[in-house]
Each structure stands twice: as structure tokens, then as C-alpha cells.
Symmetry: C2
Subunit: 396 residues, 2 copies
Amino acid sequence: MPRSAPARAPITSPAAATVFTTVLTEGPVSRVDVARRTGLSSAAVTKAARPFIDAGYLEELASEGRTTPGAGRPANPLAIRPDREYFVGVKITGDDLIGVVTDLRADVRATAHHALTSHDVEHVVRALADLVGELLAGPTPDGTSNLRERAYCVGVAVSGDVDRASGIVRYSPFLGWRDVPLASLLEDATGLTVTLENDVKALTVAEQWFGEGVGASSFALVTVGTGIGSALVVDGALVRGAHGVAGEIGHVPVADGGPLCHCGGRGCVEAIASTEAILTRARLIAGEPGLTMDDAVVRARGGDEPLREVFAAAGHAIGLGLAALVNLFGPERVVVSGEGVATYDLFEDQIRRTFAVQAFGSAARCGLVIRPLPFEEWARGAAAVAIQSLFVAESV
Amino acid sequence: MPRSAPARAPITSPAAATVFTTVLTEGPVSRVDVARRTGLSSAAVTKAARPFIDAGYLEELASEGRTTPGAGRPANPLAIRPDREYFVGVKITGDDLIGVVTDLRADVRATAHHALTSHDVEHVVRALADLVGELLAGPTPDGTSNLRERAYCVGVAVSGDVDRASGIVRYSPFLGWRDVPLASLLEDATGLTVTLENDVKALTVAEQWFGEGVGASSFALVTVGTGIGSALVVDGALVRGAHGVAGEIGHVPVADGGPLCHCGGRGCVEAIASTEAILTRARLIAGEPGLTMDDAVVRARGGDEPLREVFAAAGHAIGLGLAALVNLFGPERVVVSGEGVATYDLFEDQIRRTFAVQAFGSAARCGLVIRPLPFEEWARGAAAVAIQSLFVAESV
DNA sequence: ATAAATTCTTGACGAAGTTAATTAATCCTG
DNA sequence: CAGGATTAATTAACTTCGTCAAGAATTTAT
């Protein structure tokens, strides 16, 4: 699949990346403001910004009257042109593929799904290529051109142990894969540049650049659902762990002598608060082996105290895990999201209560955001990784 | 106290700092080797090394025959001259001051103690100045000169919330201090440059540069004793926490519904494994309110099962805390040290056992070093901070 | 000896960002 | 409403830092 090479992102120096990402993540900003925030000289900002303006990634807004009071030449804020380029993001779950097309700001502009009937590598690669093809079939969202000519980068998010640099899935329990060079396979199949990343880490990038993480030098993202995981950003960089393991908040032991976890430990957060753990416990409590999650939720909401207790215990375990994380790291903010639908009302209170009790000193000042997480958000994270890989040579 | 200004550490560029610290921490290395390890060009290493050689901080060793086989010009390894400059480190505890003089490699060359009879700021500053004066009274350890002419930097380590940049003790529970500008007070009293740091962080710097942390991009140091704390180094930088709180492993909740901690939480590691917590529990178990720690240790060693259990429970709690830390961070190595004397034999086994069970996946591959920690080590950490502040403008 | 290998040094060059002066656009004041 | 004050953006000269490429130094191998 040949492709012409129009002027692409003109990253030529560290300063260029700094300036661009500042404008990208902090909205329209004047050059002087960028200089102030980044510590660069305003001359450097002028120089770095020009190639981006020439290539159509940034534009100069009209000085729009006066924003700051007082005398002086009004600023000409720099703004991103989100429709300059589009990106594809795909999240692979055990059952299906969820794909999105986003603009430069990682705003979702189109969506597509695809069921996975097999975990066979070739099948998945074909399905991925089909999905990408489908997503890129039409015109651009702004209607000025064809998507194929304005989207070159695909981001793919998979749970498990993923080596982003080499684009290899080292180990994915859900897919049953080991050492699959998915990025290059998909590049061959689509002719596009593919970046592969762990799903939680991808979501974290999206959050860091375009979500709650904006402006926070350190924050954490926790996902609650089938599994419980997290990713940590310290001083702007993702913590990767010496042996590839980090952010395993799901396996922080919080209940001494508690239930056995599939990891071999006892009392792990995941052994108490994962969807499965909750369901198992709910069935036991209710004495109904056939109880479904939906039913349990409905009944708990309806006031079934024993069932409410099960959810509260899960929230308590999560709160303890959060306290451990925050006491160790001291992030500025923590985002708790869940793939499970809207059962938040059953957790949130208890999470906050437990956290408030167990957070040490001013660590409790850390901002705690709890919110549901639509499935597409994962795919958006994948797209964010693609965006990031384009503008930051070596980072995160 | 006037002082002449001989040629000091010639740090003029990032490369200079990189080259110097490489030689400092990784022993004699040839220039080409430094280049390979740091990614610099060998030309840059040559240029950066010269000022250090001229100023007497580095020296070129004779090519000492052939170390690597094969042809080629033999290397002239660069080595540190540890006696080029001396440093003072002081640790402040609630009861006394412990001071050391070290050389450039942070090797302790002289020691002095001083009891603290009051926590009054003026009294402590005077005591500190006296101690420093005493330490610097004699000739240099290498006998070539006077210490006063070869030591300009003092490092001070205090437990509590310390702002290193401004040299202010924000809050120290042990001393009952709030917002004491200790660094400038001591600079006025001694005429020397003073760097202030939290004690655990200081110890971590020593470990990172001269101890177990050498070569590890991420590691953690845990101290067990009156309090239980830790410091984390990720990608070579100390984690400081957005609100100044980080590394509070002592307040990671590991025993749901466990004993109340002075922090207000329940089941914190510190509420189970601090010296005080152990003693309280041992007295309860033994039914002897007057039991001393020494006696408890002796009896546990002698085979008193109930008492052994108390220590094992403490080890278990520490192991759980370590598992939380390692599962979240994935450090390459963890050092567990304790100020408490030599009661390690009663903990170590249980720490390792619990950790092995609860560490997730390859996180268990993290190297776990458990070892006692002589009191002087704290003062050495303070000296290491002084050394570091001299050679690294902005870091850690 | 001569060639090959390896370390170290040197000087020209280039990239990136700084400072300082200049131009531009606006408000404020008498 | 002219002229100064004030802030924004640009330009150009300069500084700094480190790379590159060529060569000198010093050893082993043939």
C-alpha cells in the first residue's frame, strides 16, 4: 500500500517537541506564554513554532481583543489544527476489536467494532487490517479530503506484557499469545505505521495529554473491572518497572489472610474487587449459584444489605490499594475508571471513605477522580499513543 | 569565617557532570568506556575530563599492562582522587548528633558524637557548629593538609518534612520544629556551605551512588526501626511526591481491621512492625508490662514461641508492604535496613517468605537485600548529599 | 618491519538555544 | 490625539556544547 509523503510533523529538536506538546495539551497559548511555561526563550518558541505553522499543524489565532488587562501588544495565541491529521486507535479485547478515528487532539471522530471469532494471530491481524480499512474508507470528518491520505499512524492497545519499542506482544493471557510481533505484522498488512502499547499505559497517555493528567507532573490511573490495574506517571514519564512489571495495584495485598488470588497471593485487591471476585462472593452470600452480575447490581441498588456489603467490601479493598499507591508515590491526582458499566454508585462512597482514613498526611490532598470509562476510551488511548509516537521521539 | 577559593569542582556542562559521576560511582574507567556507558562521544569525554584532572579531582592511572585481550593501545583508566576534598555529614536524631568526615567516595574517615540536651533551635545550631568544628579541627586523613582548607560542604540529615532546595525544615516531629531555616543558620555559624535533606532520602543518595543502588536505574530503600520509611528512585531520580509525601511504606495498610496507627489508619505496617509496636505486642503476649526490647529479643532467640510469633508477624507485615511497593514500582533492587540493632535474624526469614508469595510475576525477580544499618551510615548519607550537591546542580 | 586494533586528542563544524536589539500593536495620559 | 509605556513577536549575532573525522599514540599479530 504505497503512500505519498506530504510534509509531516516537523520535530527537529527537543524544543520543537516541547513547544508543540505545550500547545497541544494546554490549548491556545501565546508564544510568550509557551516560553514562560517551558522555560525556553521566546525567540526559541518563535523558531520552533514556524515549521509547525508551515506544515499546517499549528495556526495563529487572531488577537481576539484583549484578554489580559493593561497595555501592550496583544498576543497571537498559537492553536492546534486538530483536523490536520487523523489517527486510528484500536483496542483488542478477548472478544472483539474496538476501533476509532481521532483527530490530533485525540477527539473521537468515527467508531467501528469487529467481533473476534478466533485468537489465531493471522485471524486477528486480518481482522485488524479490515477494521483499519473500514475506518479509513470514507472522507475525512472535515470533508476536505480522503482519510487514507490524512491518516498514517495506527495505535494498538492490548492487555498484557507489551514491548512498545519493538512492537512485540510478549505475553497476553487473554489472547494466549507469546512473542507476537504484532506491530510489524499489521504494518505489512496495512502499509501504515503501527505503535503497540499495553492498554492501561495507552489509556494513561490519553489521560496525561488530553485528560485529567494535563498539568500534573505525576498522576496515576487505576482501572477496575475484570482485572484491576494501574499506570503511574512520575515527573512526566511512565513508570515501566525494571522487569516490565509496574502498577500492579490489583496485586497489592490489602487483606491479610484474605481470599486466594489467581496470582498465588492472598488478599490481593483483585481477589476482592474484580468483577469475578464480586460475583463469586455475591453468589455465595445470596446462596444462588446462578446469580448474574446484573441481578446482583439491581438488588444491591434496591437495598439488599448483604449484597451491598459485597460491593462495599470491594470498594474498601480498592480504597486500601489506592492508599498504598498514594502513600508510596504521592501523585498529584488519581483517576479511577472502570470498564464495568455503571456500578460506580455502589463503590464510590466506600472507596473515598477508606482512602480518606488510610491516606497519610497531606497525601490525602491528592485529587481523586472516580468515573466510568466507556469502551471507546480504550481505543482512544491507543490513538493517543499513535499521536504521541509521532511527536515525541523518545519519551514515556 | 573567611575562606580562600581554590579550584573547585569544574562542572560546566551536563556532560561534565555525567562523566564525573560515572567515574565516581563506577570506579576506574577508561575514557572510551565512559563514552560507551553514557552515550557521549569519546571526544566529549576527553574534553570534560580535563578540567577535573587539572583541578585534582580525577587522575589518570597507568595503563597497568593489559586488561582486555587483543591488540590496540591500552586504556588509561580515569580514577577518582578521593582525598582531593572532604565532606562533613551530620545526622540529627532526637537525642544526639552523629557526625562524620568522608572523602569524595563517601568513605568515612572520622567520626564524632554529641548529645543533644535540648531541641531549642539555637542550641541545636550551636551544637551542630561545635560538632563540625570538632570534626574539622585536625589535619586531613591523608596528612597533607588541614581539614579546614579541604572541606567546604556540610550535609545535614533530619527526619521529617525537609525542603532541600531552600534548606528549611518544614516540619520535624522529633524536634518539634516548624519552618526552621536550618541550612542558612548553620551556614552563618560555620561559614561552610550546608545542604539539608530528609534522612531517608540522604541515605538513599548514598546507596544510589556508593552502595547497592549503583547501576540500578530504579531501586528502593526501606528503613525499619522507630518509624518505617522508604525512598524510591525511579529512572535515577528520587520520587518526591506532589505534596511532599512519598515513600510512606510505613503507612501502607496491610492488615485490614488491624491495630490502630498513630496516623489514624488501621493495620499500617508501622502499627505492626515498628520497634514500639513490637514491644507493645510483646508485653501483651508475655503478660509483662515491664518487658524490655532487649529481653524480648533474647527470649525470642532462645526459642520463646509466642514472642517469636510477634517478630514473625512484624516480618510478615514488612513483607506485605514490600510486595505492595514492588508490585506498584517494579524496582530493580530493594534494600531493607534497620536502625534497630541486630534483631534481623528474627525478621528476615519471614520478610522473604511473605514477599516471595505476594510479589507479582517477575516483580519477584527484584533483588532483596536485607542488612543492618549502623548509625553512622545515616551521617554518611548526609555527607553523600553534600557531595552530590557539589557535582550535580539540579538532580534527584 | 608492517599491518591491524584500540585509545586518546585535536580542530573544524553544526545544531540549538540565548541575549539584545528591533519591529509591532495596543493602552494610557495629558 | 500625539507620545510614552507596555507587552508580543521577530531577527540577527553570538555562545555553548557536543559530534565528526582525521590523526597521533601504543600495543599485538603476522
